[in-house]
């Protein structure tokens, strides 16, 4: 037990403790202390990862609570409500060319603090997190095996038709569904693997949205829109 009156830090140490890591990195570079800049970059990574993981842990727990108290339909509705409020963001994204869309999605995935693979072929981009820093990290934590996290038992739209689907991963279906329902075209479409969280999910951005295969609409009970000549 520490005695009172004891001071642990100097004024300067207290000030440094409060400074954002990004600003300290810039300061270290300006001072020519590159090793300190490297160390601070790792500190920044750890700070972000810690908050990221607390957030998803909290999210998964809350989704599990909604499922237990109100059922699967409420999980769907609550997530729909959460993601439909991102309409403005979706519209801004939709107005970019396919290259910029790929860059934005890759940046979003890097925000999950995980490496990303980006591939390009004639008709589309394929973007994957390897491993998935979002739902995959929760699966790798064994939280679903121990019962800490809930699964959605019955196959349905938000489980991509799979049974025993990790509840957090259902948001990926909503990210497909909401833009299709509100804007006709998806922002991207997701190919879920056989072993979710073990193999990577593949996110496709089609250069021409009319080339998106009909199966990506049909799996949600939707119809592929008629081709637009203006695209």
């Amino acid at each position: 037990m520490a005695e009172t009156k004891k001071r642990y830090f100097t004024e300067s140490e207290l000030k440094e403790m409060g400074a954002e890591s990004v600003k300290l990195i810039e300061k270290a570079i300006d001072a020519g202390d590159l090793e300190k800049a490297k160390k601070l970059a790792h500190r920044m990574y750890s700070e972000y990862l810690s908050t990221h993981n607390i957030f998803w842990d909290w999210l998964i727990s809350t989704l599990g609570f909604i499922q237990e108290e109100l059922g699967d339909e409420a999980v769907y509705r609550s997530m729909y409500r959460a993601f439909e409020s991102l309409t403005a963001l979706a519209d801004a994204y939709r107005n970019q060319d396919a290259g910029q869309k790929a860059k934005l999605l890759a940046a979003g995935f890097r925000g999950h603090l995980t490496p990303v693979v980006v591939e390009e072929d004639d008709e589309k981009f394929t973007i994957m997190m390897t491993p998935c820093g979002s739902g995959g990290r929760a699966i790798a934590s064994k939280g679903y095996e121990t019962g800490k996290f809930a699964k959605i038992k019955k196959p349905q739209k938000m489980t991509f038709g799979k049974k025993d689907f990790p509840i957090y991963c259902a948001h990926c279906a909503l990210q497909d569904i909401i833009p299709m329902e509100t804007g006709g075209y998806p922002l991207w479409v997701m190919e879920d693997p056989e072993n979710v969280g073990v193999e990577p999910c593949k996110f496709y951005i089609y250069k021409n949205p009319d080339d998106i295969p009909a199966r990506f609409y049909e799996r949600f009970g939707l119809k592929k829109p008629a081709p637009k000549s203006t695209k």
Partner: protein
Amino acid sequence: MPGKKNRFFTKSELKQMGVETVDLIQQAVDAGKQEETKKLARRMYREAFFQHESYRDWITSLLSYIYRNNGDKAVYEALHEAFKQLSPVMDTYRSVDVGRQTQMLAAGFRGHLSSVVVEEDDDKFTVMMPLCGSAGRSISNNSYEKPTNFAKIKNPQEITFGKRDFPVYCAHCAMEEIIAMGKTGYPIWVIDIPEKVGVQPCKYHIYKDPDKVPSKYYKRHGLKEPALKKSK
């Protein structure tokens, strides 16, 4: 809109797009590219910021859903369920001295992409986010007003620190105190809630001697302060 066959990026650009920014920072430092390093540090900040705001808003939206469909008690239960899982983190806090606890709390706050003020006096540390990067930012950008319209808890109660019309997300701060006190009798930190939540900073106090935590922080949760020096 480019036609088919049009390639936007080279193989090398595609590869670079997938590399974690922290790794690119290391590479830039090693190559002595100072301006590039700064640029990448800011990029990493933006990536984390976007993710942070998305997660916080998603959580707030779910809590709003629970509040509007199942009421106050359900919000309490949902938060209790979520934060009791953080019990191991609390154990880690308790295993280190108060100086280290303060460093850990400040690091946690920096993870909300906000600057932090840390003060020390004879009895305690006070840690604050001048503009709270957690809930404060969503209050200041009007997310509790239409159209986003996140819920506020109308009636004063334990998870609102006795305040009326309390932002639903902020209730987790009360739960962090409740869980910690419930586990060992002592809190890890206690919070002074300002008159204007989200406008003025919340003050987190870590007392150097837990027996010096004023009784008002226990009483507001309907608890008694533990007997002095009782097997902490």
